[in-house]
Amino acid sequence: MRQLSEDYGAERAVSDGSAAGAERAPERGVVSIRGVSKVYDNGFQALRRVDLEIRRGEIFALLGPNGAGKTTLIGIVCGIVNASEGQVLAAGHDVVRDYRAARAKIGLVPQELTTEAFETVWATVSYSRGLFGKPPNPAYIEQVLKSLSLWEKRNNRMMSLSGGMKRRVLIAKALSHEPEILFLDEPTAGVDVELRRDMWRLVRSLRETGVTVILTTHYIEEAEEMADRIGVINRGKIILVEDKNVLMRKLGEKRLILHLQEPLERIPPELGGYRLSLASGGVELIYTYDAQAERTGITSLLHDLNAAGVRFNDLRTQQSSLEEIFVNLVREEA
């Protein structure tokens, strides 16, 4: 999997957090984050004025490298971390002032596998439902356990379960009180392929029942596979929020860079039909194309270059990195 481990230099690219402004809906989303910052006690600023609107019923992926602030942001929404400034509404309720109403609607699957070793699966999931203030409903718990292939394990103690099974139990706990909003913090980190497939299936079926799902990941593929929309966070800033399809199209772009024998002052008009640009004082001609498309247009471009008398002595291709996409995005919106 491609991993967003590199730092995309978003700081440089984005002068203020409103880069994602085009996405801001006039009415507030099912989760509405406004101007949220977090400075930890040791002085580290983990979030910088984050604005984010999650639409009801969507699957939203928060994509960012380790340390970007994803878990911190989720923690603030769920009441585990105190925000230093800003406001969060969940299902229309302020998560601080009206925490009871807000939290009753939220389910959280944490990043870490934290479980009580000696409890049985059934007991720990039933406990979660009670803790969230709901009367017992064994039929519903049974349904949740079955949907997660946990029913056979219901009388097993947590410590006897594998990591993947524990992850399932954490999901069952988060679903036990029938939340409208589900947070999955790195749900597939360290999880086998089978569970990953199960998880993706589950998330889609949850969406069909109207649950809004927000998941964090540092795998681009995961965001691509599951999400309707993707938000990218880096160094505590949301640097873009985009429809998955639009973002993936941009991610799929590659560039062919031709080193010319003679510098060009401008692109010859015969080549106007291609997405071309000049760089390095005209010695580099750059052709941008969709690497995933059936026809890249490279063959015909080379033919037309020849016909136009443009000669080159070297060529290479370059995948557009996330960084470049962000830089371009910001430029376009500025």
Partner: protein, 253 residues
């Protein structure tokens, strides 16, 4: 008030007691019995009576208090420290429960356990020595108030502690010595005047004295002072817990 939430926390904590029955019930009973054998028989053969009560019977209220204090503190501190340590506290923090409900669940369970234990030890003691309880309602009141107060103290310690050492430090270095020096095994009349004055600074003395009074009608200090002491303690602990939750101290980043 969120009834299901409190019941969930309380029930979860109590279920730990059944799961670890041996550790949580049997071992305090055995150690208390040992105290009876050692102190009651060995010393009791030399000190026959204190204030007209046989020595074996005299030490029963103190022993119950000793157990009540240490068990309340260790149960409650462990009950909240463990989820912090393992990370499962995230669920409580993200649940739609008020701080009061969280405390009610955790502290209520820890106090219930110590009260049950206290009564078991009382029963055990009655096998060794003849007991009389002159003021049973007062006895229960002291039992419940002490269990509650020290469970609250344990809860605070469990939140303050950032390692297992600290978790054991307070019971070991504070509670046990104060109880031993607070007249569990003697009446302060038996001490020289200087040490009597020092002992009067020990708050646990007032608890034991009041508790013993509810059994035999004899006390080192007046019952009103004993009751006031425990209520002041309770107030301090409640204020501390309120502050902890208001600021999220050691619970929230």
């Amino acid at each position: 008030m969120n009834f299901y939430s409190v019941r969930a926390i309380y029930g979860y904590e109590m279920s730990r007691m059944w799961r670890t029955l041996l550790q949580s019930v049997v071992s305090p009973v055995i150690s208390t019995s040992l105290y009876f054998v050692v102190f009651g028989s060995a010393i009791g053969s030399r000190i026959t009576e204190v204030d007209g009560v046989s020595y074996g019977a005299f030490i029963v209220p103190g022993l119950i208090m000793l157990m009540l204090l240490t068990q309340s503190v260790s149960n409650a501190s462990f009950g909240i420290y463990f989820p912090r340590f393992s990370g499962t506290i995230y669920e409580v923090l993200s649940a739609p429960v008020s701080y009061f409900e969280v405390v009610l669940g955790y502290v209520g369970a820890a106090a219930s356990k110590s009260i049950i234990l206290g009564l078991i030890i009382l029963g055990t003691a009655s096998l060794f020595v003849p007991l009389e309880i002159q003021h049973p309602l007062w006895m229960l009141l002291f039992l419940v108030l002490t269990a509650l107060t020290f469970s609250l103290l344990g809860f605070i310690i469990g939140i303050w502690a950032d390692g297992f050492e600290k978790l054991q430090l307070v019971p070991l270095l504070v509670i046990t010595p104060l109880t031993f020096l607070g007249g569990t095994f003697y009446s302060i009349d038996m001490l020289p005047p200087f040490w009597q004055k020092i002992t009067l600074l020990n708050p646990v003395l007032y608890l034991i004295s009041g508790f013993r009074w509810s059994f035999y009608g004899i006390a080192d200090v007046s019952v009103a002072v004993s009751l006031a002491t425990i209520l002041v303690f309770l107030g301090i602990c409640l204020a501390l817990v309120a502050w902890i939750f208001k600021t999220g101290y050691r619970l929230k980043a």
